[in-house]
Structure formats: C-alpha cells, structure tokens
C-alpha cells in the first residue's frame, strides 16, 4: 500500500530494537478481553483507478453535474470561483500545514489569516474579527452565549424569526442545557422583523437580527440598535450571504456589537453544505470575550515583522473548564480561501459583483411576476426573494431539474407551514439572462 512505506526488512529491524517478536506483540498491554475478535468488515481496498470509477459513479448520482442553473440560496450560494483560488489553496504548504502553534515555520498561514481578519473587519466595518468558525450558525450561537454570559441580570436572548431556520435551531441546541431562554421576534407583513414586538420585550441580554434576512429582505438594523440601546443589551447582526456587504451598508455602520455570518460565498464551493466558513466580529470592547483563534502582529528577536496566535488564554487549551467556548480548530483553509477571493475581487470588484447579483435577482423577480407568480414582499432585497407560485408548480419544478437542469427556488413550506406554494428564489452573477428567460417561458 503506497501510503505505508515499511518494508519487511524495516519492520524486522525495528522490532529488533523494540524487542517484540511480531507486530501483534506490540499490543501486549491490551488485555485479551479488550481486543476485538472480529476483523474489520469493510470493502476490500480499491486501487486509485477503481476508486476513481466508484467515486465518479457516486458523484454522477447528484444532479449537480454538467452545467446546471442554481436558483437556490437559503444559506448556500452559487458564485463564480476564480481559477487562482483552488490553484493557490491546493498548495501543499497551505493544505497540509498544521495549526500555526510554532509560528516561526507557519508565517504563511499566520500572515494569511491576519490579512483575512483585516479584510473581514473592512467588509463588516467592525473593530475585530476572529480567525473563523465552523459556519454562520455556530458563530451566531457563540455570539448569543457571549451576550448571555456577559449580562449580569438578563437571561433571555431575542431572536428574529427571520433568521435562517437552521441557525435558530443550532442556537436552541446550544442553549438547551443552560437556564437561558430564546424569545422569538415575530415577522411583520412586510417580511421584516417586528421592531415594535422587540421593543416591548423585557429582561433581554441581546437581540439577534439577520440582514439580508432569510427571505432576502433588508432589515432596518438602525431601529434595532436604538432598541438595544434602550434595553442596554447587545445587538448581534447576522447574515448568510457575505457578498451582500459588497454593496449594502454593513452591520458595523449600524453599531452592531457582534456580527456572525456565513462566508461560503467568498470563494468556496457549495459542497453539499460544508465545509463553509463561520465569520465572527466584534467591537474592541468585546475583544477578550470573543471565542476562537486570533492572529496578532508582532516582531521577532531581530525586529522583523511576524505574526503569532495570540490572546490564547481565552481558549480551551489554557482555560479548560473555564473557557467560554470549547472551540479548538477554525476553518483555516477556508479562511485563506476567503482571503484569496477578497484580494482578487478587491474593493471595486466585490462592489461590482454584489451589484450584479442584485441586478440579476431584480430581473428574475420581474420575469417571474410577469409569468404569473405573485410578489409576496415589496421591500428591498439582496439576491434572494419570495414569490408565491401558481398551483401545480411543484411538479413543474421537478421537471425543470430533470429536463432543463435548473433548480427553481427553495420551497418554504417546511420552514414556515402557512407559506404553501411559496418559494425562495436566488439569482447570483452565475445565472444567465437566457436561463431566466427560459424559466419564465416554461412556467408561463
């Protein structure tokens, strides 16, 4: 087996040094009663060539093959990924490197993550960003815990019902063992979070609002900031589409205390939902409360600029049971991916791509409405929107996948039971006018 370099001679020579008769004897400290009696019942080892065949067969069973038009978002977005991104990220020195605990031989990873942190603060207009988390949902749960742990009196967190359903579910799972309570803020008829309902709440440690929200609608974070100030609680702004901040006013401009979001749109493939990239940012005041890794700039003994993991005393390997989070790894390689993507797109590029997303989504919505769909919300949105389909669309939708390799929206009924025949459509810069015109024609 090509991954196992030992020859018979190697093994014999090594066993002579360890003093064992054979490889089995190496496990003499394991009581016989503990050893397993059955060999591992796994398929016989495949050659690289048979592996390719088998994996290609499996991959082809996903209707993602060839070119297909993706008009679905809901937390996973189809964007163009420049060739240099997978090219650079596949470099051994990035891919097969360990966590940069020995900084002298990890400056590549460390400077890369430092640059990532910096660009995320620029994107979100926040003071500080961590070196990343697993995904937007877990980052949001961590923010909820920060707000709740920090508050000396309040033990409730107000959560918009228009935050991605999965993110809310994760938060619920994380908060379950504690005495903390999640209070949902209902939506209003415009598909926005009801500020009035939030303002009427008591005993709140923090308020979490997603913008653009799950329906793609742009929330008025300013009024939540005002409400949070009244209640002396923290404002947590979340998002699932990082590119929105290329054109929209970012959470930092609204005075968010904490920001949690999904960064998959910044150069990562959808990959059936993971790995993505959890983004977490905060104000300077909250620096020592933030979980996860930080890269900081410093100098070496020759005065040369260098980077290290810092403020590690917040983390589990030092604080152990007193750590505010148990997080160990970050999604390092994906953070580097985002850094490469943001560096490539740059200030103007990201603005243009974001604008193009908006142009496409507006065009799609108009086409669908003209084709007989109903516009559900009238306010401004970014690259996603909700429409009500004419009856019988569910079958048509399946046909569109099978015949035209086109995924027409995400059905919303399973998330919001009274939204029957409602679909969340997404149009990014990858969708051609041609495809949108075809869809409109097919559903007329």
């Amino acid at each position: 087996m090509r991954y196992l370099p030992h020859t018979r001679q190697d093994i014999d020579q090594m066993l002579a040094v360890t003093g064992h008769a054979d490889l089995n004897q190496l496990f003499e400290t394991i009581p016989d009663s503990a050893k397993t009696k059955t060999a591992l019942n796994l398929p016989e080892a495949l050659s690289e060539w048979d592996l390719n065949t088998e994996m290609e067969e499996l991959a082809s069973k996903n209707a993602a093959c060839g070119s297909y038009t993706c008009l679905m978002g809901a937390g996973s977005y189809d964007h163009h990924i420049p060739a240099i991104v997978p090219y650079l990220i596949s470099r051994s020195e990035f891919m097969t490197a360990y966590t940069p605990y020995q900084p002298e031989v990890s400056q590549g990873t460390l400077q890369g993550i430092y640059e990532f942190q910096t660009m995320i603060t620029a994107l979100l207009d926040m003071d500080i960003a961590t070196a990343s988390h697993y995904d937007g949902g877990t980052a949001l749960a961590e923010c909820a815990l920060i707000a709740l742990n920090k508050s000396k009196k309040a033990n409730k967190i107000a959560v918009s019902s228009l935050i991605h359903p999965a993110h809310r579910q994760i938060m619920k799972t994380y908060l379950n063992p504690s005495e903390y309570e999640m209070v949902e803020i209902p939506a209003d008829e415009n598909g926005l979070t009801d500020v009035g309902a939030f303002n009427a709440m008591d005993d709140i440690a923090g308020v979490a609002v997603q913008s653009p929200n799950f329906f793609g609608n742009i929330e008025d974070l300013g009024s939540f900031r005002a409400g949070a100030d009244e209640k002396k609680c923290l404002l947590i702004a979340s998002f699932t589409e990082a590119l929105a901040h290329g054109v929209l006013k970012s959470p930092g401009r609204f005075g968010a205390d904490l920001v949690a979001g999904e960064g998959q749109s910044l150069g990562m493939t959808k990959s059936f939902g993971g790995p993505g990239l959890g983004l977490l940012a905060g104000t300077k005041k909250l620096m020592r409360n933030l979980p996860g890794r930080f890269v900081g700039k410093t100098t070496d003994s020759n005065g040369q600029r260098g980077y290290v993991l810092t403020l590690a005393t917040r983390e589990q390997h030092i604080r152990r049971e007193k750590a505010s989070s148990n997080i160990c790894s970050n999604n390092g390689l994906n953070a580097m991916t985002a850094a490469i993507y943001m560096a490539s797109a740059g200030k103007n590029g990201i603005r243009e791509i974001a604008q193009l997303n908006h142009d496409k989504a507006v065009y799609l919505k108009n086409k669908l409405v003209n084709a007989g769909f109903k516009s559900v919300f009238s306010g401004p949105f970014f690259n996603e929107f909700v429409v009500k389909a004419p009856s019988g669309f569910a079958d048509k939708r399946r046909e569109l996948v099978e015949k035209h390799n086109l995924y027409a929206g995400v059905p919303l009924e399973s998330y919001y039971p009274d939204m029957t025949d409602h679909y969340l459509f997404c149009a990014t810069e990858t969708v051609s006018r041609q495809a949108m015109d075809l869809l409109a024609k097919e559903v007329q």
């Binding site: 005393t313 030092i318 604080r319």
Partner: protein
C-alpha cells in the same frame, strides 16, 4: 525562574497561601500578588479586574492574572468591597512583574472585618511555606 533567596518578601505586608499580599493603609486594605507569584507566572500580559463596588468574601476569586501561556486566578486575602482598581495595569500590566508590592498593586478594598488579617501569614511564615 528565580530561587527563593533571589526574591523579595517585605515584612510590612501579610501573605496568603495562594501568594497574594494584603497591606493595611488607613481605612483601606491594598492587595496584590507576591514576588514569587509574578516570577512563576512569567511576563504578565493582562490582569482581569473586578468592578468598583463588587463585594467578595475572604478567599473568593476576584480576578485573574494572565501570562502568554497561563492564567492564574487571584483570591481576596480578606473580605470586603472593591473601592479602587489599579487602572495603570490596563496599559502596563508589566508593573506587576517589576513592582508587585507598590506600583503593581491590584485593588484596594474597604474591609468587612479587619481581624481576618490575623489568619494570614507574616513574612517568616510565608517564607517557611515557600521553602517547605
């Protein structure tokens, strides 16, 4: 790290088993960590302080002192209310290393019961504990 002989233990303060010191200053009691503690911790990077007005009992954890790779909780030598925290340590935590008994003080408290000082160790008893 230094040997006991190289470290400093003034006689005008009292010491705890956890290496804090306490000194009566008029109505208040000043609190810090001993030369042994700062030497063991190494270069101090951050001191987590309580807030003015917080109250603690004798032996309660009231904050922590951090070096790059370690965190040490600090315990109040006698019970009382925090009336002053050393704000200089925010920008210069290294004062705890260089001047742990004067400029590197941590908090000043209004004591609940001054007689609690009697349960603390004097210089001789603390030295004995360190050598033992």
């Amino acid at each position: 790290m230094k040997s006991i002989e190289e470290l400093n233990f003034p006689s005008d303060v009292k010491y705890t088993d956890d290496h804090e010191w306490a000194k009566v200053e008029g109505d208040l009691v000043s609190v810090g960590i001993s030369d042994y503690a700062q030497d063991q911790l190494g270069e101090i990077v951050f001191v987590e302080m309580p807030e003015i007005g917080d109250t603690f009992g004798q032996g309660d954890e009231f904050g922590s002192v951090e070096s790059v790779k370690a965190v040490s909780e600090i315990f109040l030598p006698i019970g009382g209310e925090i009336v002053e925290v050393n704000s200089e340590l925010e920008d210069a935590p290294e004062l705890v290393n260089t001047n742990c008994y004067d400029k590197g003080w941590l908090v000043k408290i209004k004591p609940d019961d001054l007689s609690e000082m009697d349960s603390l160790k004097d210089q001789a008893a603390y030295l004995e504990m360190l050598k033992g």
